[in-house]
């Protein structure tokens, strides 16, 4: 039976670990070995909204495995809404390829494509719902950089209210028995309260603070996100908080030796450029891990072992 990757909610802990193991194998294999794995296979990358980074990462992953890529990338989120229905597009493209990678502003499009198509479907982001390949690459990065996931202290900084990336990663970390979270967010962008009520009472602690310095001192991972101006109804409110969430190299003097700064990219100004040269900067290797993880995902869902 074909296997889709639609939502982190569908995965068991063992399945998540299996993706991490496969990604490690991909990384160990030489470029020459890898490029022999998927000759003649075609991936259709259907990007109904622009997301250059995710698209390039998937394309790079498929090329690294010796396969090729077809597809399209919409210039803006609305240009494809006219004309052919989503399901018709899926049924047309499925006869041209072996695996579908879909990015769409509509929520539930990954699930719908998976139900409609006989090909394996990878959800590369459906509106504000799910982006499972991002979560898997984040987990892989943490495990690779820190040697483990369980028991780490992880801080999230920025827009914790709307960030799909943050929500999905917190849920996944809870599965891995990460119990100690520090949350640094302005009042209006705090993590929704239902997260703090999940799981056995008392198992998870969420320490909320508005002070980035505190999170730097105590955490193993500092996961930064953008604070978008559009999220603030009042522009003055935005001006007031935006600088309190900017990380600089100087602030990192208090960090533990092994601490890592991660970010889903692109950054705006929440990480100063002087952080890039420090040993703490993990966000560019994180992007590289994205290509590794996506190779693992493509292989697994095409049923090719490494």
């Amino acid at each position: 039976m074909k296997k889709d990757l639609i939502s982190m909610e569908d995965l068991t802990l063992d399945e998540v670990k299996d993706y991490l193991v496969t990604a490690a194998r991909v990384e160990e294999a030489s470029l020459e070995e890898r490029v022999k794995l998927l000759p003649g296979r075609i991936m259709a990358a259907l990007f109904f909204e622009p997301s250059t980074r995710t698209r390039l990462s998937f394309e790079s992953a498929m090329h690294r495995l010796g396969g090729s890529v077809i597809g399209f990338a919409a210039k803006d989120a609305t240009s494809v809404s006219k004309g052919e229905s989503f399901t018709d597009t899926i049924h047309t493209v499925e006869s041209y390829s072996d695996i579908l990678v879909i990015r769409h502003p509509g929520e539930g499009t990954g699930r719908l494509a998976a139900k409609e198509s006989f090909l394996p479907v990878i959800n590369a982001g459906d509106g504000s719902n799910q982006h499972p390949t991002q979560t898997l690459l984040d987990l892989y990065t943490i495990q690779k950089d820190l040697g483990k996931i369980e028991g780490l202290k992880i801080a999230f900084v920025g827009d914790l209210k709307y960030s799909r990336t943050v929500h999905s990663l917190i849920r996944a970390l809870m599965m891995f028995n990460v119990t100690d979270f520090t949350l640094v967010a302005p009042e209006s962008l705090r993590l929704p309260a239902h997260f703090m009520r999940t799981g056995q009472p008392g198992k998870f602690t969420f320490h909320e603070t508005e002070h980035l310095e505190e999170a730097i001192r105590t955490s193993d991972v500092l996961y930064m996100t953008r604070i978008q101006r559009e999220r603030f109804p009042d522009i003055l409110e935005y001006e007031k908080v935006k600088d309190s969430y900017v990380l600089t190299a100087e602030m990192l003097e208090e960090a533990q030796e092994h601490m890592r700064v991660l970010h889903p990219l692109p950054r705006v100004n929440e990480i100063a450029y002087d952080v890039d040269k420090t040993k703490f900067a993990g966000y560019f290797p994180q992007a590289r891990n994205g290509v590794i993880m996506r190779q693992a995902i493509i292989l697994k869902h095409l049923g090719v072992s490494i």
């Binding site: 939502s7 909610e9 809404s81 229905s85 989503f86 399901t87 769409h104 502003p105 509509g106 929520e107 539930g108 499009t109 699930r111 719908l112 459906d126 509106g127 504000s128 719902n129 799910q130």
Partner: protein, 157 residues
């Protein structure tokens, strides 16, 4: 006693009885089933406030038809779980099911998330999954949003 009760509403040799409706819900359920095309021509009688050992008071609905579709039973199940649907043949109860709160609801409810693909591609059947046994909260299988059942509208309305 039993015969007296049966006299209040015509006895039928062939039909469907929706029984053990909590008193006060009968009219609501009649409204729901009347929306379906297959009921339009069917003789229906409604009984209100009958005595019931289980419920104290109950309502019931009789329909002179052989078969109630799964869509209608599903619709009844989300408003009044616990009702009994009996099929009558030759004046006897031929079969009986107790309608339970559904674990999955297909093609009946409309997702409230405007950005959900089921609201863009209207030909897609909606699909909700109950989060508890009582079906008070449901999750859209597509956009994964969670809703209270009573805040969602049905597609047949």
């Amino acid at each position: 006693m039993k015969n007296e009760k049966m006299l209040l509403i015509p006895k039928i040799d062939l039909g469907i009885v929706v029984d053990h409706i909590p008193a006060g819900m009968g009219i609501k359920i009649l409204e729901i089933i009347s929306q379906y095309e297959e009921i339009k021509e069917v003789p229906v009688s409604l009984g209100l406030n009958y005595e019931s050992r289980r419920l104290g008071k109950k309502d019931l609905i009789k329909l002179q038809m052989e078969f109630l579709s799964p869509e209608i039973i599903q619709h009844i199940s989300i408003v009044a779980p616990g009702v009994t649907v009996k099929a009558i043949k030759d004046y006897k109860v031929h079969s009986k099911v107790v309608v339970k709160a559904p674990q999955e609801i297909r093609n009946l409810l409309e997702c409230k998330n405007p950005n959900c693909i089921t609201n863009v591609e209207k030909h897609v059947e909606t699909h909700f999954v109950s989060l508890g046994k009582d079906c008070k909260q449901v999750r859209c299988e597509y956009c994964e949003r969670v809703f209270d059942l009573n805040e969602l509208h049905t597609l047949v309305d």
